[in-house]
């Protein structure tokens, strides 16, 4: 301002100059007129940027990858047979005894079990079964729970019916339902999944219903409804994306919980059939003599703990990263 004042005042010259510099004619372009300039933002890219920003997550993810690879590929390289080594003198060996007796190989680095079976092979094969079980159960329960929960939160008729069902089922201890079901329908892999999922989705659906109810009547949804957006579009475009971080949090605790559940139920003798190698069976078989033969007991315990902790930690951190509020810097 002051510089302008100091110059000799020449109104006409200045005007011409300014107009030359500042204004120019543009062609009318309707497409460009619609564009709003804002910094580029991709939700999932930001999620992963935040997630990988933390060094500990990369470590956890590496361990998870190793565990997954070992569980899903290793059993094919080294097939596990629980009764395969049934011969004298090699039952219940500690790692050093086993290596002395049978020579060094990956098979014996964790010793042998009750039937002379390799514990190292056993834990990976069992982990594969347990992981498969938990992934299938989590997939079924989460998808049923989210879909039904979303409908439950929106539809009055569905709400009244499901509320009664929920109030009845919520009264029953989960463990009771599962054990009675497994008792009645048998204990194969399929029926175990069935028992875990028949009512498992209900709790998730109820949780989702509450979340949907909370944001259903927010102003932006009311506005959307006033503008005539169909219900399905509101649910899928407005409501569910808002709940992504909640869903990931839920998933982070769901997946490990099925592994724990399997271990727990099988230990109690109401889990999967005895011929399906699972972490629960390995722990259950070894627990009677857990002081005498600690390796056979603690190895499956350790692997199930590692899997559940890693899944939990990775899941929780992913959930933190998936909260859009953490994307702002």
């Amino acid at each position: 301002m002051s510089e302008i004042v100091r110059q000799p005042f020449d109104m006409a010259k200045m005007k011409a100059q300014q107009e030359d510099e500042l204004f120019y004619f543009v062609e009318q372009n309707p497409e460009a007129a619609e564009r709003i300039t804002a910094p580029r933002y991709s939700y999932w890219a930001s999620v992963f940027r935040i997630f990988f920003h933390k060094k500990s997550n990369i470590v956890a993810l590496t361990i998870l990858a190793i565990v997954l690879l070992m569980s899903f590929i290793y059993p094919f390289i080294a097939p596990y047979d629980p009764m395969g080594h049934l011969r004298d003198g090699i039952a219940n060996l500690s790692p050093s005894e086993a290596i002395n007796k049978l020579g060094f190989s990956m098979e014996w680095i964790l010793g042998t079990g009750v039937w002379g079976n390799s514990i190292f092979y056993g834990i990976w094969t069992s982990a594969r079964i347990s992981l498969t079980l938990s992934l299938i159960c989590a997939a079924i329960n989460m998808s049923l729970g989210i879909i039904i929960g979303a409908v439950w939160g929106y539809n009055k008729a569905v709400d009244s019916v499901l509320n009664v069902i929920y109030n009845i089922i919520a009264n029953v201890p989960y463990i009771l339902l599962i054990s009675v079901l497994v008792y009645v329908i048998g204990s194969g892999f399929g029926s175990f999944v069935f028992a875990l999922t028949i009512t498992g989705w209900l709790g998730i659906a109820y949780f989702m219903r509450t979340q949907v109810l909370i944001i259903r009547d927010r102003e932006y949804n009311l506005a959307s409804r006033c503008l005539g957006t169909p219900m399905l579009r509101i649910v899928t475009k407005n409501v569910l994306p808002y709940l992504t971080s909640v869903i990931v949090t839920l998933l982070a605790s769901e997946i490990p919980s099925y592994i724990s559940m399997e271990v727990y139920l099988t230990y109690l003798g109401i889990g999967m059939a005895a011929d399906i190698p699972s972490l629960g069976h390995m722990i259950g078989d070894a627990q009677a003599a857990w002081i005498l033969y600690p390796w056979a007991f603690w190895s499956p315990v350790a692997i199930s703990s590692i899997i559940t902790i890693i899944l939990y930690v990775v899941g929780q951190n992913l959930a933190d990263a998936s909260d859009p509020r953490s994307h702002m810097k």
Partner: protein
């Protein structure tokens, strides 16, 4: 409030019945009935042909699968069982083997028609004999499968049974001899309500065993257990554990004599029950003519449910004493070292299978502190309680820490806290009067559940340490195909969890005046 409560209670009863019905439907219809005979020598080896069939039906009846009437029992109500007519009719049924569908007697035809009209299936399981005599006897029976509604009706209809002076149906006991009255009880030196003609002799009595006052007037019929010889599940729960104790006591035969002598006995004479025919074997202790016999052993342990409750309740209290302050501390030191350590612990408890850390606690307790890890059957030292309690307490303290921390941190960022601060309240005041009280609202709701859960017992903890508690009730019943106990456990667990939710809501409403269950605006 009253209206809400009434509605709530009615709905709770409704859900209890629905759940029980569903489990009954699952257990009694979808499951193979023959599982009932697993490990039953009578069925698998001893009995043959008609004997075996009849035994199967009588067992199905005993465990509630079917309604079952035998011809002799029906005939007894029609004619005098000592008459020749009765003897002949029963004999025909038991020994004849002809190709007819029913025995050719007038009474048998009537029996068949009566029960067929009621929807029963009438069967004549025929006798078989060789030259030396009968191989197996004949049975004429009527059987009908029970449906779920009937089964539910009978179950809840007979759920409570009352012991009155008319309970015992013994023609030899004159009506004038029946009574219920207060008497001086020489075993406890206190008054006791005793009865004659009642099933239990002592209806209300006191002794030195927890809970000190005992009653036998109302008893629960929760369902018969197959495994423990037809005992009721409620007896299974309240069974005493531990070793029998010898004590100097007055024997029942000397009870009404002057200066009764004291003798050694390990029986608890408060538990005597009526028996119509007492064998002479009992005269030594109970005296001739005394119908109240069959006392149970006096034991030094708690009852099974008592064991679970003592462990559970101490663990719950301990978890609150430990978890609340640590949770508060973590919230105050958010993102500092105590919070980080606490969070690691919480992740450990949340993620690791419960089985794993229970064994870890056991291993540490055994090697570092030399604590007993197995409940031996001989006298149980008080130290045996320590590890089960710790194994229950530490995980639930972890859960509490997690929630308390979460709630406190949420409350600290609330607007009312900023307002209170701007008004010049001290941090201490803000914390104790505002933040803490508000955060506790969420905790209060789960207190009744935590207490009631200790009645159910901790399945894994009890199994690991071999505690004779009630935690294994359901899983043991499933292992042994004990359907009666499975139903009983369903009712027991469901009842407790309904009660816990209800009490939790009521406590919440009491603690937080903003919570109201009515639609009125205050």
């Amino acid at each position: 409030m009253k209206k809400y409560l009434l509605k709530r209670i009615l709905f709770s009863i409704f859900s209890l019945v629905v759940v029980t019905g569903t489990v009954m439907l699952l257990v009694y219809t979808l499951l193979n009935r023959e599982l009932l005979f697993m490990g039953d020598d009578n069925y698998t080896t001893k009995l043959k042909e008609s004997d075996k069939q009849n035994y199967a039906y009588s067992q199905y009846y005993e465990y509630g699968y079917v309604d079952y009437v035998t011809f002799p029992s029906w005939l007894q109500q029609q004619i005098d069982p000592s008459s020749q007519e009765y003897v002949d009719a029963v004999k025909t049924v038991q020994e004849q083997n002809v190709s007819d569908e029913y025995p050719r007697t007038e009474y048998a035809i009537t029996f068949a028609n009566t029960y067929k009209a009621k929807g029963y299936q009438v069967m004549w399981l025929k006798a078989r004999s060789n030259r030396r005599g009968l191989i197996c006897s004949g049975y004429f029976i009527a059987v009908k499968d029970r449906n779920v509604f009937e089964r539910l009706g009978t179950y809840f209809g007979n759920f409570f049974s009352f012991d009155t002076m008319w309970s015992v149906k013994d023609p030899n006991l004159a009506d004038s001899d029946r009574y219920v009255r207060w008497e001086w009880d020489p075993y406890s030196n206190m008054p006791a309500l005793v009865g004659n003609g009642t099933f239990h002799r002592y209806l209300i009595y006191f002794d030195n065993q927890f809970p000190f006052v005992h009653q036998n007037i109302i008893s629960l019929n929760m369902g018969k257990s197959k495994q423990s010889e037809g005992q009721d599940t409620s007896e299974l729960l309240t069974m005493r554990t531990g070793d029998a104790v010898m004590e100097q006591t007055v024997l029942p035969k000397d009870l009404y004599t002057e200066n009764p002598p004291l003798e050694e006995s390990n029986l608890d004479f408060h538990t005597v029950t009526y028996s119509a025919n007492v064998s002479s074997y009992y005269y030594d202790i109970y005296g001739e003519g005394n119908h109240y016999v069959n006392a149970t052993l006096k034991k030094n342990g708690f009852t099974r449910i008592g064991n679970s409750f003592v462990i559970g309740i101490i663990a719950t209290i301990g978890a609150y004493i430990l978890g609340l302050p640590i949770g508060l501390w973590m919230a105050r030191k958010k993102d500092k070292l105590p919070d980080k350590i606490g969070n690691l612990y919480i992740i450990f408890i949340m993620a690791v299978p419960s089985l794993a850390y229970i064994y870890m606690f056991a291993a540490i307790g055994m090697s570092a502190f030399n604590l007993p890890i197995k409940w031996a059957l001989a006298t149980i030292p008080a130290t045996a309680f320590i590890l089960p309690i710790i194994s229950l307490m530490l995980p639930s303290a972890g859960g509490l820490m997690r929630w308390i921390r979460r709630y406190i941190i949420d409350q600290e960022n609330a607007d009312y806290v900023k307002f209170a601060r701007s008004q010049g309240l001290t941090e201490r005041e803000i914390f104790s009067k505002h933040i803490f009280r508000n955060a506790m609202i969420f905790i209060v709701h789960s207190i009744p559940a935590d207490i009631l859960v200790s009645l159910v017992g901790a399945i894994v903890t009890e199994r690991v340490y071999g505690v004779p508690g009630v935690g294994g009730l359901l899983t043991d019943a499933i292992d042994t195909h004990d359907n009666g106990v499975i139903i009983a456990a369903t009712v027991f667990y469901t009842f407790l969890s309904i009660l816990a939710l209800l009490l939790g809501d009521l406590l919440l409403a009491k603690y937080d005046p903003r919570v109201s269950f009515t639609n009125e605006r205050g």
